[in-house]
Amino acid sequence: MAIKELMRIVQHNEIAENIFRLTVQGKLTKQVHEPGRFLHVKVSEGTTPLLRRPISIYDVDHEKKELTMIYRVEGQGTKLLSTRRVNEKLDILGPLGKGFPVEKAVPGEEALLIGGGIGVPPLYNLAKQLVKKGVKVTVILGFQTESVSILKEEFEKFGDVYLATVDGTIGTKGFVTDVIQMMGIKPDITYACGPKPMLKALKEQLPNERLYISLEERMGCGVGACLACVCKVPNDLTGYKKVCSDGPVFQAEEVVL
């Protein structure tokens, strides 16, 4: 169940250009199990910006009651968030949404995890849970350029990690789709999170049935009430799914990108 809590910041630091790692502590942690769900964070104490910001859960430590997020400073909201300091309280609503279905992978199978840019973090706890379950994990991470490439070492604990950068400063020059082709990777099941063009390309390249993708959309409520974050579903003109509550993770076939 989602709750709203003033969580204490226990760690907050810049891990790459404009990318921050934020750990908060509180009892909300108890509710967090499935990887890929998100927190709705109130970044301002006043009325500007007015709305919360959705940030995925990177990892959870139930013993320490800690949740970690990794976020990129994009605009006003995340910029303000980056100024919040250790021991301050952060107003967090969560966990929200439906995450990656770990249960769809069978022990012994090969899972491919594909992250693009700031879509990489939510795959971390997923990889952890898959490996624990006995699923073999391969990871492809795509970035614009080396200075914003993150978490390679962290994922290497779980399996093979391939990098792609648009400018070729690290890893393969090109996109994650190029890596799949070059390496001839044929996964049993795929989980992906990243920009829409990447997800579209994956949807065309890989079998859809066992492809799970995490979408982003501008949100109002984050809980399914305001219909800000909808996406279309196949063959139904008035049908829709809500990214915040039906997702953010969908089976690729469920949604029209």
């Binding site: 989602a2 009325t47 500007t48 007015l50 709305l51 501008r218 219909l227 003109l237």
Partner: protein
């Protein structure tokens, strides 16, 4: 004894706090957070005759102290509301105010007739900010005679009292209110959103796919208060006030201006518990200000000065 209970046409309210239409869906999501029976009433999402998908995304963006939305009347259509959503809400002890929308007078009438017959619908709220397809897409709510005609037509078929929701995007809100009162409305709800826009820095395009959107949140509070102040002194039907309400003081300020009850919209997105929190905070705040019942606040700004 409760300090918060109220009677309005068709409505026996435990308290004056209700979620505003479009900001609470059909209640399901917020029922995960608290017991909806706590609420004074619930204004459900606008319902049209047929299901509608609404506008493309992005549908929301932000502005200083406010947000813009262009959801565009997305809703599952009258049948689904009647067979699924309203029956689900019957488990709660809370009156439902059904927000009715349409593109033609006929559509409004059809929706109003059927939805007003639902057992837990105790009042209708006519959303007259919708574009009128017969009049070149200009909103019903921007012309007093069109709004009055619509009100009269709906009133003639509704089984429950009819509240009309005023758009603030007009030159003379009092003229609108008077015309709607004369047409038989039982109450007014105000204000709907102001029309606004934002643009992307990097490509100069409107941020919302629909280009324009409705401005809600604290930014519009002073405009709502002014309009309620003017209208409440000019009509004899009650007003449910809304526009940027976040705190117990905001609720009382709307009452001072002339509202009889209030609705809370955007604030639900920031704090899902805002409505029950307001209901809990109000009695103490009222006592501190020297009131023994919330109704004493109503119109105090102009009653006092006469």
């Amino acid at each position: 004894m409760s300090m918060l209970n109220l009677e309005l046409p068709g409505l026996t309210l435990k308290n004056p706090i209700m979620p505003a239409s479009g900001c609470f869906g059909f209640g399901k999501e917020y029922a995960e957070f608290y017991d909806l029976s706590k609420l004074g009433a619930i204004m459900i999402k606008a319902t049209t005759l047929e299901p509608r998908y609404g506008n493309p995304t992005p549908r929301v963006t932000e502005t200083p102290g406010g947000m813009l939305n262009a959801i565009g009347l997305q809703n599952p259509g009258l049948d689904a509301v009647l067979t699924e959503h309203l029956p689900w809400l019957e488990q709660f002890d809370v009156p439902i105010i059904a927000n009715v929308a349409g593109s033609t007078v006929e559509e409004y009438v059809e929706v109003a007739r059927k939805i007003s017959a639902a057992p837990n619908v105790e009042a209708l709220e006519l959303n007259i900010s919708c574009p009128n397809v017969r009049h070149g897409g200009i909103a019903f709510g921007t012309d007093p005679s069109i709004a009055a005609e619509l009100t009269k037509s709906v009133k003639s078929v509704s089984e429950v009292p009819v509240y009309v929701k005023l758009s603030p995007n007009v030159t003379r809100i009092v003229d609108m209110a008077k015309a709607i009162e004369a047409a038989g409305a039982d109450g007014l709800t105000m204000i709907n959103t102001l029309i606004g826009m934002r643009f992307h820095m990097h490509n100069a395009q409107p941020i919302l796919a629909n280009r324009t959107g409705g401005l809600s949140g604290p930014a519009i509070k002073p405009v709502a208060l002014r309009m309620i102040y003017e209208v409440s002194q000019s009509v004899n039907i009650p007003i449910i006030g809304m526009g940027g309400i976040e705190t117990a003081d905001d609720v009382i300020e709307f009452m001072y201006a002339g509202a009889s009850a209030v609705a809370v919209g955007t604030a639900n997105f920031i704090d899902p518990y805002v409505c029950p929190n307001l209901i809990e905070a109000l009695p103490e705040r009222l006592k501190k200000l020297g009131f023994s019942h919330i109704s004493e606040c109503r119109g105090l700004s102009w009653k006092n000065s006469k």
